[in-house]
């Protein structure tokens, strides 16, 4: 099984995907650094927020499915997967691919947060690319405040910068793998591949809007990028995550139990 997963992972990393992932890892930090001149940043935490809060929150699920689910969908369109049924048990094959998808998305999105973290907290300060930070973050009354009250995840800063960096990267990685899995599983349930790939992205934006209208933005899926919201308890971001994980798991179980009856695989 693990061998199959490893094979799937290596075959998934085509040069197109590698280019895409490289862009995904580098561009946010690069862009954040370029525009940082126009912002009064109070420190690495603020700089990290600037990098992560720009473009990613808008298209996060689309990027998540682009890593593995979209290239994989071609195997469905050319009936490649159907023809492998004579060589390998289809359920085993699908499980390996689902796992490869999950792992790849987790690693990619872990790095999407972790590399900017390294850049903002360690590399950039030693290079001194950004001219100077303001001494401290100021609250509404003008007094200095600790950076750990900035957003929900910055509570981890109380433990230390590494806890923040690794913790937030883990959260982003997990969320990325959930969206990737949703897109992957939906490919088997919805015969129209465009719709299957679109659902995580479209649903994510619609849910963000609806939760915003209901005045509970902390429970919207975009809470994984909580930079423009006030601080919430640490369990709050895990509410939408748990729901999504449950949905993805339920769909995966459904696909597993009905593998032999799915139209897409006939």
């Amino acid at each position: 099984m693990l061998k199959t997963v490893r094979k799937d992972l290596t075959s998934a990393l085509s040069w197109k995907v590698l280019l895409f992932v490289a862009a995904l890892l580098v561009l946010p930090s690069l862009y954040g650094t370029v525009i940082s001149d126009g912002y009064a940043l109070s420190g690495p935490v603020d700089f990290f927020t600037l990098i992560m809060g720009g473009v990613l929150p808008l298209i996060f699920p689309l990027l998540a499915v682009a890593v593995y689910a979209v290239p994989f969908s071609n195997q469905l369109s050319n009936r490649y997967l159907v023809y492998t049924r004579t060589r390998i048990d289809i359920r085993r094959n699908l499980a390996a691919k689902a796992l490869a998808n999950l792992i790849l998305a987790f690693i990619v999105f872990f790095l999407v947060a972790f590399l900017p973290f390294l850049w903002a907290f360690f590399i950039e300060p030693s290079l001194g690319v950004i001219d100077q930070y303001r001494q401290s973050m100021v609250g509404p009354d003008g007094s200095a405040v600790s950076p750990s009250i900035g957003n929900t995840f910055s509570q981890l800063l109380a433990i230390g910068p590494w806890a923040y960096g690794v913790g937030y990267s883990m959260v982003l990685g997990l969320n990325g793998s959930i969206y990737a899995s949703l897109g992957f599983v939906l490919l088997f349930l919805i015969s129209n591949r465009f719709v299957a790939i679109a659902i995580p992205f479209v649903g994510y934006n619609i849910a963000n809007f609806v939760f915003g209208v209901l005045a509970i933005p902390q429970f919207s899926p975009a809470i994984v990028f909580p930079f423009n919201l006030i601080q919430f308890p640490m369990w709050v971001p895990f509410v939408p995550f748990t729901i999504l994980a449950f949905v993805a798991l339920a769909l995966a179980v459904y696909v597993h139990r009905n593998t032999h009856r799915l139209d897409v695989l006939l």
């Binding site: 473009v55 808008l58 689309l62 071609n74 719709v195 992205f201 209208v213 423009n228």
Partner: protein, 505 residues
Amino acid sequence: MTGRTLTSARTVLWHAAFLVVSVLFGITVRQQAIGRGQESQASLNQWDHILGFLLEPYFIAYFLLPVWLFTSCVAIHRHFAIPALIRLGSYRSWLRSSILGAVRRLIPLMLIWLVSALLTSIGLPYEWGWSSASTTPTESKQILDVVSVQGLPPLAVLAIQLGLFTVTLIGCHAALAAVHLIAKRRYVTFLGAALVFFSLLYSFRNSFGFAPLDFANFFLLHRAFDAYDPIALVFVPVLVAVALCFAAARYADRQGDARLKLPVRWPLLVYLALCLLGILYAWVYKLQPSNSPTDLLFVAFYGVSAGGYTWMLYLFHSIVFLGFAYLFQLGLTEELDARIYYVALRRGSPVRWLAHFILPVAGRAPILLASLVAVTSVVALLGNLTGSNNAITEGIPDPGWVLYQFFVNGTLQLLCYVLITFIVSWVSGRTVAGLFALGALLVLSLPALNVGQLLPAALNSMGYLELGASELVRITVVLSIYLVVLTVITTLVVGNRRLFFNERI
């Protein structure tokens, strides 16, 4: 004896029984009228009896209506047969023919009712005007007291009552037929009939505050006079109900032949609901009563400005405008993945196919914008946003520019979105690529990336109004140039045989 003769014999018997019951009931009504006349010591004429009979609630509620509802249900069930459906071709024509059948059934019944009223009025003095008994106000408000003071001659009241009653019964029949069309179960139709019957019974005794739901208004003219002024308005809810029945039949027609189509309807419904939600959001959270309807339009479609963006307003803007492109993509996916070869063959050439496919979408863009303006105005009116000080739009040139930005740049922007997603989908050979084009547009709309407003992304944002009128015209020029270029590219790409969709994978 043939079946037709048998049926007609049965009908004659049925009508004769109806006549007997009507006449018997007419006699009791006449005796009551005479009794009332003697009580008030005023003279009667034939109208007291005829109108009293035609407006008799008990006769209508316990005899006429149940008979009508029952026969309607039976007729609908019999008529809803495969041969009739095949002959008629569509549910809509079935509904039409069912209603015509109902009219044919109703005319004899109404005539019998009228004739029995006339028959039982024999012996009372004949006059053209109202009798003194009917115009004398009584303590217990009688039926004739209400209808005689409306300034209408008795003959007109008779005509209106008969007309109203006929239209209502036809409406009941149409509603039952529509229910049968959708449910296709006999017991559901009978349940519907029972519901109509019991709501009417309830409504006779207790009138609702909301006139269109008060059933008795549509059966009894004296109730209608109380609820509707002018009286002609009473016909409106009934006619609307009949129109809704036809809409239901149309829906059933669509349902019947739409199995091969993509479920475009659900996304569309969600899309429209989100549009409404966003407008309500702008109204509830952002505006005061002193704001004008233009302010609501401005805030709801604020989108991005040159300085930055607000998360929620930008999300709503993207949902409306990129959502339109997404719905287009849904239709395009179905067309390209399922049947491009067939439709391109049918149209003769891919370019001709393109014209047939894109032009209706292009036509829908202004329709969408006009509907959004209409909904915004309705929400503004309902929300009492009737101020005229344009508090929010103060910094901008003129409220007229709000409409300019919304309609002119909005239409151009929508068309650009549609063409961009089309070109990306077509050239890449995969419609999924169009989705990534939408994602790219979503990102490129951000003011930090769309520097100088040179990219065709969210340029129709109301936020750009703050830049002044000349900037809006510049945006129009930019969008027009993009539109021309995109149109040329689309035509070239579709016309090029080597770039034909799906040929390269």
